[in-house]
């Protein structure tokens, strides 16, 4: 119990002192995860929407595959991205390994299937409601996808937040491709793993509490935004 009490003290102290190193870690964490989620959203919304509307051979298999990819193990993704980005790998020339760019890349791979699979479900449900009306107005599927994404924007925000929750909490992928280098690629989860292995449990737990607090704050902001928009736009 004393460890947990000490952890709360630590978390409080971390926030109150707000030392430069911690701030840098928090900012890098946000930068990596938010960039990965933003890029994934750009790809996953049209991808999930297209999968909901277009009918082609192998579609069902693709849906099952996409749903399965939601559970991709971060360490495996980290390893594959590591191989791609390593000096001798196909993308080695980019020189991204052990940089924040590599971490964004790995998290992008992790989060895209999640947002795409959830989008596919949301848009497919909307399509049953909108299909006749949109076809009557003359909307081709390519147009309808974007109409439905816009109309489903509140539900899709939840899908995006689910993706954010996943990447901001994962440690395996960013550790492998980032390397947890102080001041360069150290994020909150890798810092927690490091402090735990060093035996500084209160500091590790304190960082953990801070991470949870950040996640709550971002989700809360998204929720309030969605609520306000819903009241205004119906």
């Amino acid at each position: 119990m004393s460890d947990i009490a000490a952890a709360f003290d630590q978390a409080l102290a971390l926030i109150l002192h707000a030392d430069a190193e911690l701030i840098a870690i928090v900012l890098l964490t946000l930068r990596v995860s938010l960039s990965a989620v933003a890029l994934a959203t750009l790809v996953a919304l049209p991808l999930g929407g297209a999968l909901a509307l277009y009918r082609f051979p192998g579609r069902k298999a693709l849906v099952v595959l996409l749903n399965a990819l939601m559970g991709l193990p971060p360490v495996v993704v980290g390893l594959v991205v590591y191989l791609l980005l390593s000096r001798s790998g196909p993308l080695g020339a980019l020189g991204l390994l052990f940089t924040p760019g590599a971490m964004i890349f790995a998290q992008f791979v992790l989060v895209t299937p999640i947002v795409a699979a959830l989008t596919r479900q949301v848009i497919e449900d909307l399509w049953t409601e909108y299909s006749e009306q949109l076809r009557s107005l003359g909307a081709q599927p390519g147009r309808a996808v974007f109409t439905l994404i816009w109309d489903g924007r509140y539900s899709l925000l939840t899908a995006v937040m689910a993706g954010f929750g996943r990447v901001s909490a994962e440690v395996g992928a960013v550790l492998i491709v980032g390397g947890n280098i102080a001041h360069v690629t150290r994020v909150m989860t890798t810092a927690i793993a490091l402090e735990t292995s060093k035996g500084d449990l209160p500091l590790a737990l304190g960082l953990g509490l801070l991470l949870i607090g950040l996640s709550i704050a971002i989700n809360g902001a998204a929720y309030l935004l969605r609520d306000a928009a819903r009241v205004a736009h119906g």
Binding site: E129, R135, L137, A139, W150
Partner: protein
């Protein structure tokens, strides 16, 4: 405002897509024929009301005519000289309007954008349609917060802005109170007056008497009558229609 909509428009050729002919049309699903043996022709100008008890296939008939579903047998053909443009010259209003999560005005301009109306014309045409439907003061309101009657009038305005030669309406007043129903009927009358052919289903006999020029009477997926409204209401030809008019035919 009515004059501007009635005015002949240079972008529209005088030639139309009507008449619409159905030849031996049937639709089956799950091994069951839901509607069958349909052969009739609909001409320009008149208001055709599709009547029949629940489950007689009224909505299905409208969807087949509008091209939302393909018949499993027979053919649905537009015979007018502009038949190749049939898709763009018709519109449909559904029992439960599906409005987009955007303003009333943007719902109307959306339909115009899909018909490739130049951007600068969209707003003007949309405002005109909203005006005709009595919704001009609500143009900037989110469509989804409008009342049921306003939503249905907005759906009509959206269809009307497309200036369809044929407008299909599937029970457009089924879930509205009497005042909202009258408002919707007034908009339908104005659309008809502006030159659109109306094809509409209803289960409300009073409404059918008010609006119909001719009647298609369906029963269990079969077309039993296709007659001028006066004759249908005064002397229906089939026993089923007589029972229906007495309120005794429930399905």
């Amino acid at each position: 405002m009515a004059e501007t909509l009635l005015r002949p428009r240079p972008d529209e050729p005088a030639a139309g897509i009507l008449p619409l002919r159905l030849e031996g049309v049937a639709y089956a699903a799950g091994g069951q024929t839901l509607i069958g043996g349909l052969s009739f022709e609909l001409g320009a100008g008149s208001r055709t009301l599709v009547l029949g008890p629940n489950g007689s296939g009224k909505s299905l008939l409208l969807r087949l005519c509008h091209g939302l579903i393909a018949p499993t047998e027979g053919q649905v053909r537009w015979l007018g000289p502009a038949a190749s443009a049939a898709r763009e010259r018709q519109a449909m209003v559904f029992q439960r309007p599906v409005l987009l999560r955007r303003s009333a005005l943007a719902n109307v301009t959306y339909g115009l954008a899909l018909r490739h109306v130049p951007r600068r014309e969209r707003r003007e045409r949309a405002l005109e349609a909203l005006q005709m439907s009595g919704l001009a003061p609500l143009a900037q309101r989110p469509a989804r917060v409008l009342s049921g009657g306003e939503q249905q009038r907005l759906a009509l305005a959206r269809a009307w802005a497309l200036r369809p030669e044929v407008l299909f309406l599937d029970e457009p007043t089924a879930s509205l109170d009497p005042a909202a129903m009258r408002a919707v009927e007034a908009v339908i009358a104005a659309i008809h007056a502006a030159g659109s052919k109306i094809v509409m289903t209803t289960h409300d006999l009073g409404q059918a008497r008010r609006l119909a020029d001719e009647v298609l009477f369906l029963h269990r997926g079969r077309l039993l009558e296709h007659t001028p409204a006066e004759r249908f209401f005064a002397a229906p030809g089939s026993a089923e229609a007589r029972a229906f008019l007495r309120g005794e035919l429930l399905w």
